[in-house]
Amino acid sequence: MRFLLVEDNAELGEAIVARLSLDGHAVDHASTLGEARDWLAVAEYDLMLLDVMLPDGDGRSFLRETRTTERLPVIVLTARSQVSDRVDTLDLGADDYLTKPFDFGELEARCRAVLRRRGTPAPTVIPLGTAQFDPSSGTLTHAGESQPLRNRELRLLEVFARNQGQILPKSQLLDRLFSQDAEVSENAIEVYIGRLRKRLSETGVQIETVRGVGYRMVTP
């Protein structure tokens, strides 16, 4: 997916760009509203992440301005947590609202929810063996039959699909799947690996266990 990130804090912006890139997304980073307008004029995006307090203006008025011309889904990133701010922001036409600091897993979940709600056509379908995997709608289609994936299965499969052939350590997969405030043992990952293997059983795609290190997805 292609994101436009509008965030004036350079360090936070870079971290978000780096993290989204890890998941295989393309991100353009604007640190002012002016830059954001320039990007919007030249590129097409699937989603905009918008900070509301920017050096050259209020993100909310920018939101109102873009709502009139663009159909681009917007998730507002804000330091204001109050319900009244949330209501105001959503009234201005934002699709969702995320309070800083946020969990990347949650950002991803909200992006997916927004895109699903908007009915935006799937930007990328990843072929997996004889099956088609659509991360944005969360479905795996095989032999004309599409099965919906549970959220964790979907996220796990997405990580494997974007890193085919690479060995992924257990700990890294764990971080992707579970939020940091939950206490999870490394064995929890095996449950989800088992489920994915079952779902992929007829596609020719395999998830191999690399003993002592992690897992690897191999396509025929």
């Binding site: 109050q82 897993g105 940091q180």
Partner: protein, 464 residues
Amino acid sequence: MSRKSPPSMVWRSIGQRLTLLLALIAAVLAVLSWWMVSSFAREAAERTQDNILVASATTIAEALRSEQGVIRLELPYSAFAMLGAIGEDRVFYRVAADGTVLTGYDDLIPPTLPQSPSDVVVSTLEFRGDPVRMVTVRRTVLAGQQPVPVMVSVAQTRAGVAEIGLGLSRTAGLLSVAFFALAVGLSAFAARSSLQPLNSFAQAVTRRGPSDLRPLRRRVPDELEPLQSSLNRLMERLGQSIRRSEEFIAEAAHRVRTPLATVRAQAELALHTVEKDSEREMLRRVIRAVDESSRSASQLLDHATVSFRADALAQERVDLGELAARVTASLRPTAEMKDISIRLDTAEDALVRGDAILLESALRNVLDNSVKYSPEETEIMVSLTRDEATWRLMVRDNGRGFSGEPLPELTGRFRRGRNVEKIVGSGLGLTIAEEVLQAHAGRLELSTPENGAGACVALILPAA
């Protein structure tokens, strides 16, 4: 704190003060008019008596004749008949020629004597134990060739005059009392009607919503103009200071939350590169600490908002069904991360009266708790049912439940259940929800479902 000796009741109300003042003026005017009317009446009665006495004395004097050098007098009846007009008073008379009494009472002696025929002496004196009014006129009668001055005195007691004066004065008194009563009534009416603009002004201010700080633009009497403009200035300053503190809070939150977000993002990135378990655990702790401080900040702000808004509770019509749908939709992505599904069983026209923002805060905190404490791949049920005069918005999860603690204690500030382990939280969630419900004359009900698994939190609100 309160000052001793409060001002007397009268001065607490401008209306009473005005009425009393006007009534006092009316009383003074009534007494004055009574006094004037009754003294005029008495004077008029006296003058009438004097005139009759003069007429009577003159009639007698006209009857004086001289026959062969002797002065004779046949008392005309009419002279006394006219005196009978004034009450039952006794009449005395004395006719004396040159010091010799011709007829009448010897001892009825005028204090002074008229010096010419046109002269009339009127006097008041005591005669035989009664006050009398006496008139003396002078006539010159020719006895032979000799002119002889004859003094005719007529006196009458004054009881009749006093009675007439008293009667008139009583009538005047009654009129004054009636006038006074009417004046008091009119004063009260005048006070009320002149205070009417003040009352309607006060009502206009009272009717305003708690957050309505627009200037008042009413047509008010000149006297109220300074009040209106100073109220407007006050509201403007109030609005400015509210805006300033809101800006300050926004700025403070921004200053704190943005670096926290940076820390969290960097720590999450670092987790992807760090291999050693001990280091990974350290990074997780950083993330947990960031989440904890961010959550506490949010809930403290929510709590402050509740305290602030509950003081002057808005009375909008809020549709609980829409509210539940909105909150559920916004928490669904978070729940999905743990493969928790939220089922919503809503109702139509679930209207309550109150502050939509606060009610949303309450439900959000309750539902957020459920998502947080529910295990993976479970279901949370949000249901809205009508229960006679109340709406019951219930959140039921399959989480760890309330661990057998006394349920009322869990809504205490910063209280958390004993079984929360490492889950990030500040312990304000249920407190916020309970305070919101109390402000709306509702209540929060915590219970454990019959099968003993999970927790059940019900938000109970009176139906609009």
